[in-house]
């Protein structure tokens, strides 16, 4: 059992981060903390992609006689796109938080709900 965990430690870390992020999004009332949680959640997926492309002992894919084992660059390239998306999401989210603070005077979810007269 322990061996299973140790052999796949990178996957366990990805899952751990995923759960931490998701929990933060759900459990925290502060909008900025929610965004941080969302970021951790997304980053865990980046890690999942990067780790699946890595081949043990493999180098970057360089065409040279000295290297025969390469890591798969495609997941790494894919995740560059996802990182850009993540940055854009965070920027937009923070911009919304700023405007929420301006018009409500608070960024705590329970106070916002109170001001909106919901729940």
């Amino acid at each position: 059992m322990l061996q299973v965990i140790l052999d796949h430690y990178n996957y366990w870390i990805a899952i751990l981060l995923m759960m931490i992020g998701l929990y933060t999004v759900v459990a925290r009332g502060n909008l900025v903390k929610k965004l941080v949680g969302l970021n951790i959640f997304q980053t865990s997926v980046f890690l999942l992609y990067i780790t699946m492309g890595k081949v043990a002992g493999g180098t970057a894919p360089i065409l040279d006689d000295r290297f025969t084992v390469y890591s798969n660059p495609i997941p790494h390239v894919l995740i560059l796109t996802a990182i850009v998306v993540g940055v854009a999401t965070t920027a937009l989210g923070l911009a919304l938080v700023v405007r929420i603070k301006e018009s409500y005077g608070t960024i705590e979810e329970d106070e916002l709900n109170l001001l909106d007269g919901e729940m």
Partner: protein, 496 residues
């Protein structure tokens, strides 16, 4: 002209994509509107040409940049996504024609060109999701459309629009990230992202854990984006507080595109036999669908804001579509596609009509619009036509949807579903009647004494959309033929 035809699939996405920065550079609202309208009309013409070509000559495959699939990104058009492309682009164009007056009222001065920039970007994303044959590309376009729609919703006049946009941003990102995890797991197992290639490689490894997990992640992620009950919590506020044009456009198209992707992954990539035979997707979709039909309609009855009521009604209608998908039969998929189309028409007409009312009385609350039936007769005609279609009264598009849905349920020997469909339609009668009663039979409020009919630029597209609800209730040839053909292709799980 003829040498443009092979490039139509690329133009479908590229034209609106390039129009978006042009709108931004235009700097002036009027100019940006012209650019957006031109791009959207071009996209509609392209979608029509693609639908015609693919219906008559079979599947069109386009290699982006000349890179052969499965390495390069492939765009594929068959009847199923041509149908979605046609719906999305034509609704976008109608709503754009409708937009100038409502933008002038609802968007802060000097921001109009940004509105059109985001709008056309959202259209790009939705068209891209529908046309691409690459699983990762779906995620990219999903985020393009989502990010622009968060920004669009936040442009709504009330401050609640901001919290609604934030809530949608959080939920939407979780949904898209779930989808991304699923695609990643599939790539891990198959080494490919091309949908046709995935289809051939999955059967050999279909019982492995990562593929099962990928299927679960993709289904849940898409259900979140499609606002399937109980993952619909972002939807009512987002549609209620967005600017009128955005509500109309998004309610008619955004969730529909996610449902299309669900159809594509379930039927083409994983295969109906795997999803419904090896795995219990039938019940996984059926139970939330039925709950959505009732919970959505029931919540709609108690809403005071009519835009919010329509949003809850959308939750119920998504339930009908998902119910049809869960039957996993040719008749079921046909019913789902027909209702995707017809519900797009209904909600576009109704939200546009609400925009007309908001333009005149600056509110969409039911007590504020009492007795407006006499002052805004044409807007009310559109509401009644859309409302009847929502109920599924004969001679409206909604009736065609319900007819095919009931037939599909009977074909699967699920007669109790027919009873449930009828019961939930009764609930729709309650909320539609509440609206009609307020508009025609309540004493007009003295505040609205000076209210007159909405401007023609808003009224005409609204009436055209409402008219489409009647037209497609009588002449059903085009949507039914396309939906049947598309369902046949999807059920066969044909390799593109």
């Amino acid at each position: 002209m003829s040498n443009l035809i092979p490039h139509l699939p690329a133009l479908q996405v590229v034209i609106p994509l390039f129009a978006a920065p042009l709108c931004l550079l235009a700097g002036r609202t009027g100019l940006a509107w012209i650019i957006a309208l031109a791009a959207s009309s071009a996209a509609t013409a392209t979608a029509m040409a693609l639908a015609y070509l693919t219906y008559h000559n079979g599947v069109i495959s386009y290699q982006m940049g000349g890179w052969a699939p499965p390495w390069g990104i492939e765009y594929v058009v068959d009847t199923a996504n041509a149908f979605i492309l046609l719906l999305v682009s034509s609704i976008a164009t109608m709503v754009l024609i409708y937009s100038p007056a409502s933008v002038a009222k609802e968007i802060r001065p000097g921001r109009g060109h940004l509105y059109y920039c985001m709008y056309i970007l959202c259209l790009t994303g939705l068209l891209g999701i529908a046309i691409t044959g690459d699983a990762f590309n779906v995620f990219v376009f999903l985020e393009i459309s989502s990010l622009s729609s968060y920004a669009l919703i936040a442009m709504g006049g009330q401050r609640k629009a901001l919290t609604a946009a934030f809530q949608y941003l959080v939920m939407g990102t979780i949904g898209a990230t779930f989808f991304l995890i699923g695609v990643g797991l599939l790539y891990m197992m198959t080494g490919t992202l091309n949908m046709a290639d995935l289809q051939t490689r999955i059967p050999g490894i279909q019982d492995s854990r990562p593929v099962l997990a990928a299927f679960a992640f993709i289904t849940v992620g898409l259900a979140l984006k499609a606002a399937l009950f109980p993952m619909h919590l972002w939807l009512p506020n987002a549609y209620a507080y967005a600017p009128s044009g955005v509500s109309a456009f998004m309610a008619a198209t955004a969730t529909k595109v996610s449902l299309y992707v669900l159809l594509r992954f379930t039927f083409t990539i994983f295969g109906a036999k795997y999803a419904f035979g090896n795995l219990p997707l039938h019940w996984v979709l059926l139970v939330p669908a039925v709950l959505a039909m009732f919970a959505g309609s029931f919540s709609a009855i108690f809403q005071r804001d009519i835009k919010r009521m329509l949003a809850y009604s959308s939750v119920a209608q998504i339930g009908y579509i998902t119910l049809a998908i869960s039957l996993a039969s040719s008749a079921g998929v046909t019913a789902a596609l027909i209702h995707i189309f017809n519900h797009g028409l209904m909600k576009a007409a109704l939200f546009c009509a609400m925009g007309c009312i908001f333009y005149r009385i600056s509110s969409t609350r039911i007590d504020a619009m009492a007795g407006l039936g006499r002052q805004m007769p044409w807007t009310m005609t559109a509401i009644v036509a859309g409302g009847l279609s929502l109920l599924g009264v004969p001679l409206t598009a909604g009736f065609i949807s319900k007819w095919y849905l009931v037939q599909a349920a009977l074909q699967s020997n699920l007669w109790w579903l027919v009873i449930l469909i009828a019961l939930s339609s009764m609930l729709a009668l309650v909320y539609v009647w509440r609206l009609v009663e307020a508009l025609y039979f309540k004493e007009p409020s003295p505040n609205n004494a000076a209210v007159t009919e909405a401007p023609l630029s808003m009224l005409l597209p609204t009436l055209l959309l409402a008219g489409a609800n009647i037209y497609f209730g009588i002449d059903t040839r085009v949507p039914v033929a396309m939906a049947e053909h598309a369902a046949e292709l999807l059920m066969r799980g044909q390799i593109w």
